[in-house]
């Protein structure tokens, strides 16, 4: 089933819409939730909450990139559900190494603008390291899972992520998104 057809069903609030949603994207949603929450039961509840959010959002929403939009709902829900989760906190700590040591977000730069800048930075990187970065920091895959997905060793994966965080830090300073 294409995402457009699924969105049509959701717009109509058809009986089979959520079943089709789960069939098409259930595994994807559960992986994201499980990576962050580290708990099967919490992950199931999180995914259910996300489906409810989708049901309520469509219509009027009709997202162009449905999968990413859905993943974002699940991810945000998981992060909200367990903000003190040690795995999520460790990931935030790791990613914060990409921040320059001193200073603050320049002027009126908000998270949205920073996100756009990070996207631009990621587009300038090789596809495999881009995937490694996103799998680790957006999908919250473990380093081992990222390595397995890309066919890399764990050592190479850690090195690649370290270099990406460093490059991102240099990029943010160079683009004057971060004043030291």
């Amino acid at each position: 089933m294409t995402s457009d057809t699924l969105i049509d069903l959701l717009e109509q609030h058809a009986d089979q819409a959520l079943g089709e949603l789960d069939a098409a994207y259930g595994a994807y949603c559960r992986t994201i939730a499980r990576n962050i929450l580290q708990n099967e039961e919490d992950a199931e509840e999180c995914v259910s909450d996300a489906y409810l959010a989708v049901w309520n959002a469509i219509p009027p929403a009709r997202p162009e990139h449905f999968k990413a939009w859905l993943g974002t709902i699940v991810r945000n829900g998981a992060l909200r559900r367990k903000r003190q989760n040690s795995a999520a906190e460790a990931l935030r700590e790791e990613l914060s190494e990409a921040l320059p040591d001193r200073g603050s977000v320049a002027g009126q730069c908000e998270a949205k603008a920073l996100g756009e800048a990070i996207s631009a930075f990621l587009r300038s990187q090789r596809p495999d390291v881009r995937t490694a970065f996103l799998r680790r920091y957006w999908y919250a895959d473990s380093v081992e899972a990222v390595a397995l997905r890309l066919g890399w060793s764990v050592s190479k994966t850690k090195s690649a992520l370290f270099r990406m965080r460093k490059k991102l830090k240099d990029y943010l300073v160079k683009e004057e998104l971060w004043h030291e």
Binding site: H65, K67, L99, S119, L122, D128, W138
Partner: protein, 265 residues
């Protein structure tokens, strides 16, 4: 606030990038054996005990090749390395060059050779999980090669960085398909004194040591020493952008793996 901003920014990444990262990865192609380097058989040379090189070959000068009754010992000096200014190293490295590495402890030595102090000193040796982190610690301005794509397929112990007045070293021990591979990098320090000398012990006094020449993937001329017999080994030395690299395989004289590793430098 800083960590939060970065974390919140991840919510606003371009959706096409997010979806791209969830596509199945393309299958990796196996390394083509036809791309591995072949050792120039014509350049094989069996070292004779007592040989001393008049000139440096590929920046390495043999000072001595001796037999002590049990082992063959090759001693050489890396004479064509770059001596890097102290300021080119990372901040902590500069401090260690200036003041020495921090001591963790010292104890009286069990045996004191003539001319030596009677202490064993333990230093706090910086160790890292990855080659990249160790390289960053050494200094971004030092032209250290990226980690070998062949070695990175293996499992590595800690990456250790040792500092003395005349050389900064990075060393790691990899386990690659059951084979132990030692990889060391030595970066000379400007004003630290003469170029360091290196000794390699080849076990088995009756075993011949063969010297061969080859080239790494980046074009660095390389010397490979192999020995068969009771204690086989294969060692390679090359200078790349002024830095000395040493790769040692113990318990094997098979050069095929060494060729593959050198191709990745």
């Amino acid at each position: 606030m800083n960590k939060e901003t970065m974390w919140e920014a991840m919510e606003h990444l371009a959706p096409d990038l997010i979806e791209e990262a969830d596509r199945p990865a393309a299958p990796r192609r196996r390394r083509s054996w036809s791309k591995t380097l072949l050792i120039a058989a014509a350049a094989c040379l069996v070292l004779a005990v007592g040989v001393v090189a008049a000139d440096a070959l590929f920046g390495l000068k043999i000072l001595e090749f001796a037999n002590d009754g049990e082992n063959n010992r090759l001693t050489f000096q890396a004479v064509e390395v770059t001596q890097f200014p102290v300021s080119q190293f990372g901040e902590t490295i500069q401090e260690y060059i200036e003041n020495g590495m921090p001591e963790v402890g010292r104890r009286p030595a069990d045996y004191v050779a003539e001319g030596y102090y009677g202490y064993v000193i333990t230093f706090d040796i910086p160790t890292f999980d990855t080659w990249a982190e160790a390289a960053d610690f050494i200094g971004a301005d030092i032209p250290l090669a990226e980690e070998s794509s062949v070695l990175s397929q293996g499992v590595a112990d800690d990456f250790c960085v040792r500092v003395s007045a005349n050389v900064v070293s990075l060393s790691a021990l990899y386990l690659l398909d059951g084979q132990t591979v030692s990889c060391s990098v030595d970066i000379s320090v400007q004003g630290g004194g003469p170029a360091p000398t290196y000794s390699n012990l080849f076990g088995g006094s009756k075993s011949a040591v063969t010297q061969q020449q080859t080239v790494t993937g980046s074009g660095a001329d390389t010397l490979i020493y192999t020995v068969d017999g009771e204690a086989p080994s294969c060692s390679a030395y090359f200078i790349r952008e002024g830095i000395l690299y040493s790769i040692i395989l113990r318990d094997t004289s098979d050069t095929a793996l060494m060729e593959e590793i050198l191709a990745s430098f």
